[in-house]
């Protein structure tokens, strides 16, 4: 039944397998295939003699694209099938993986067990879930609260889908911020400080999920972040730490695929957050992890009570999967630093490391506090001495030197130029800035093109606590195209209370 020739289609569909078949082949054959059906493509690997197969979503096409005796596969589908162009392949209708029934039962309120999560996440990691099915699972996780043992099972199953890094060291430090506060790039300051003080800190960060920049995006402005496991081991061996993009390592591949659906949803779910973060830390080889939970009315976590609840979940699941955890709850009235978006945030980080006069004090202080806590929890410094040790390392210039070594070890990149399309916005009134809405200012930066366009984003002239006169420039939008600048302006003008002022005396 291998009646087709395989064709590689140069179609980038981002983690979805697309199978293209000619409409005449569908009509003539009795394949029973229809557009958007799930189909299976299979063939024999002539080297090993073994059968290889993938499943994907079917697109039916007319002439031009492929011949009636060809089956076309998109980039990832072709790569995952692993057969050469022109190979003899067959196709048949594929049914939804059986584990989708488990997702449906979750949506109806059923508790899932460890083996259920294993079945679901194995199918997810093998790209057997359609986008709609992935959405069902993500929203199921959002709506049907997990109990603690369920959440632990989910996390453990997430860990089991991927590889695990091993550094042969009894202490491997790591940190993570749950996000929601733009500009919060403490990692790029904490890592060189800790590495300089002798800790092993192989930090793997994600790219932005719902934000205008993740640490992965910001570091990518300065250095190569898509390190293979081999290169990452070498970098950490050489300079004690790294700031790499986790996605290149396939540490928790199921999580990476779930994120492709979470991103357009702009929804972060509690279970997903805890499982995703802890699974990534565990598979990255960490032993001691500090989790930063910013709390503020416009941040991801809005109340101290919810921060408390979330801390409890992290601590409990962390213990069950063998991670030593601490939580730092921080206050968030607005962005950290002045830049929002990869390039502008990188400039803030460099400014702090270089101890420039105008460097953002909030980013510096927060980074030193987090570095201090990690130094204490790993026993490098005695209690209440961590902050001071971190400060000395930064102020001596040693942290900057270490950062430069990390950048060189990962592969230095040239910083992109300032975005061409810019517009300054002025304060609508005089007063002291009480809050800047994290969600809304992030959206301005995203509309402007961040993080896809590294130079796009928002540059704050003023931050929380600063006083302004009416008409004084308050922030500047940076975009790489006029249409994106307009989209950001339009959004910025449409929202109220992006900036809140203290009531006058």
């Amino acid at each position: 039944m291998r009646d087709f020739r395989l064709k590689h289609l140069p179609l980038d569909t981002m983690r979805e397998h697309v199978i293209v078949i000619h409409e005449r082949a569908v009509q003539n054959g009795n394949l029973g295939l229809h557009p958007l059906d799930r189909a299976r493509v299979f063939g024999i690997d002539s080297q090993t003699g073994k059968q290889r197969e993938i499943t994907g979503v079917l697109n039916v096409c007319g002439d031009d694209l492929i011949e009636p005796d060809e089956i076309g596969l998109s980039e990832e589908a072709f790569r995952d099938l692993g057969l050469p162009h022109g190979a003899a392949v067959g196709a048949s209708l594929a049914v939804a993986p059986a584990s989708v029934d488990l997702v449906r039962s979750k949506l109806r309120g059923k508790r899932l067990r460890r083996e259920d999560f294993d079945a679901i996440l194995t199918d997810v990691a093998a790209r057997r879930y359609s986008r709609v099915e992935l959405s069902m699972f993500v929203l199921g996780c959002a709506f049907e609260k997990f109990d603690l043992s369920e959440l632990t099972d989910f996390t453990s199953a997430m860990i089991a889908t991927g590889e695990q890094l091993r550094f042969g060291s009894s202490i491997v430090a790591d940190k993570h911020c749950i996000g929601g506060v733009p500009g919060n790039r403490t990692t790029m300051i904490v890592v060189p400080i800790l590495a300089e003080l002798g800790l092993k800190i192989p930090k793997t960060s994600s790219r932005a999920i719902t934000s205008p920049a993740g640490t992965g995006d910001t570091m990518a402005v300065l250095a190569d972040v898509a390190l293979s496991a081999e290169r990452l081991y070498r970098v950490v061996e050489e300079v004690g730490g790294c700031i790499a993009w986790g996605g290149a390592l396939e540490l928790a591949p199921a999580d990476d695929i779930l994120i492709t659906v979470e991103r357009p949803m702009e929804i972060d779910t509690e279970a997903q957050m805890v499982a995703s973060i802890l699974a990534k830390k565990k598979t990255a080889g960490a032993t001691h992890v500090l989790i930063d939970i910013p709390v503020g009315s416009s941040a991801k976590v809005k109340t101290p009570e919810f921060a408390e609840h979330l801390s409890g979940l992290f601590m409990a699941v962390g213990e069950r999967i063998g991670l030593r955890l601490e939580i730092a709850t921080t206050r968030a009235l607005g962005p950290v630093g002045y830049g929002i978006g990869p390039r502008l945030e990188a400039l803030d980080v460099l400014s702090v490391l270089r101890r420039e006069p105008g460097a953002p004090a909030d980013l510096r202080e927060k980074s030193l506090m987090l570095a201090g806590r990690l130094l204490e929890m790993t026993g490098v410094e005695p209690p209440s001495r961590g902050y001071e040790a971190a400060r000395r390392t930064l102020d001596s210039g040693a942290a900057l030197k270490r950062f430069d070594r990390i950048v060189d070890a990962q592969g230095r990149r040239e910083m992109p130029p300032e975005a061409v399309w810019r517009r300054t916005l002025a304060a609508g009134q005089a007063g002291r800035i009480a809050q800047i809405d994290c969600w809304q200012i992030s959206r301005v930066a995203k509309r402007a093109g961040a993080p896809s366009n590294a130079s796009a984003g928002v540059k704050l002239y003023k931050n929380v606590g600063d006083s302004v006169t009416q008409g004084e420039p308050i922030f500047e939008i940076h975009a790489e195209s006029d249409s994106q600048l307009q989209a950001a302006l339009e959004y910025s003008n449409s929202v109220r209370r992006l900036v809140r002022y203290d009531e006058g005396p």
Copy 2:
């Protein structure tokens, strides 16, 4: 900024707009476009001088498919843009429609108002929602229960997205079964009876959403069902009734798009069900509607209490949108009739209409009961005389003749031959059949290829109430390919309690 030539790509992506752009165009331009971004394509209609635009999901490709100065559009996207091949078009990044924020607020528990639903469904109908965003809305409807006024607003907004048929008659009858019971093709018997007795009954049915055949699929085996509004008016004028496919009429286009996501989810939500059914009835011009709610442990509605609750919702919303409704609650211990799947169900319908000796008595009785109720509620017959009038019309052969006239008026089709791949399954024990699981037997038929393959499905030899000896044939799977037959067999063998027997004495 219209730097591209429009290219029509023969790619059938089923109600999703796909925009294909060359990777070099992405790299060179400052479009800020990335795979799976939402993009906007625009150009001037040279006939009217007006700007036309569509939004869609971006796919990035290399050579072969299109040139760097071309933008390719999938079938529906090309049609909806309405510009000729080669037209000068521009592209830019498009942001998610603002109404997606309303969906997110619903997911967080907020009540939606009429204008919110209008905004959401207008964007849905214009294909501005991605599949992930559609999933969010459908699951939001499933999880966050609507109150009555919200449900009425949702239904009214659904009605407002499309055209409304008008028959210039004070009584236009209609019926609808909420589904979940395979083989329940009463419509094709009720319509000719009512039309013969002088009622106007322009029945528009859906194709299967989560079932192995909808009335639209089954009627399509015998006649053309994709009638334009003009043709439908003519058929109803000529023969008093029709059995058409609603999807061709764009009666509630937002609903048709939501269904593309509901289908793979295999989830029917309460709000979606009520709004979808009543919106379709209202826009199809009905004044008097009978809703059939089958109740059974394996049907869509499992308990009399839930049937009661659903009836209340239908009646209340029906009244608010000006429909005269009645509900028929029926008992479902298994499929109705012997056939499951388009062709096999059509054979059952013909057998009842032709009064053949082996015709399924349950299908006949249920159809007569429903026809009787409709005759009474429309005042054609006095109370308690409807059933008898319906029976006479069927037994005299008048209903068959009327059905033939309807088929001819819509356009007769040749019945497809019996499926080539068949396998008989035997009873595992002796006994009287107490129940056949509606959901599981439907899945067997779907695995076999129904409804996409019209001849595929399940043919029952025995139904609920029949006695069998061990090893006696109980049903036969029909498929159009060996792989589908195997898939159906595999599923059938994997489930327990597909057939339940009464305990012996």
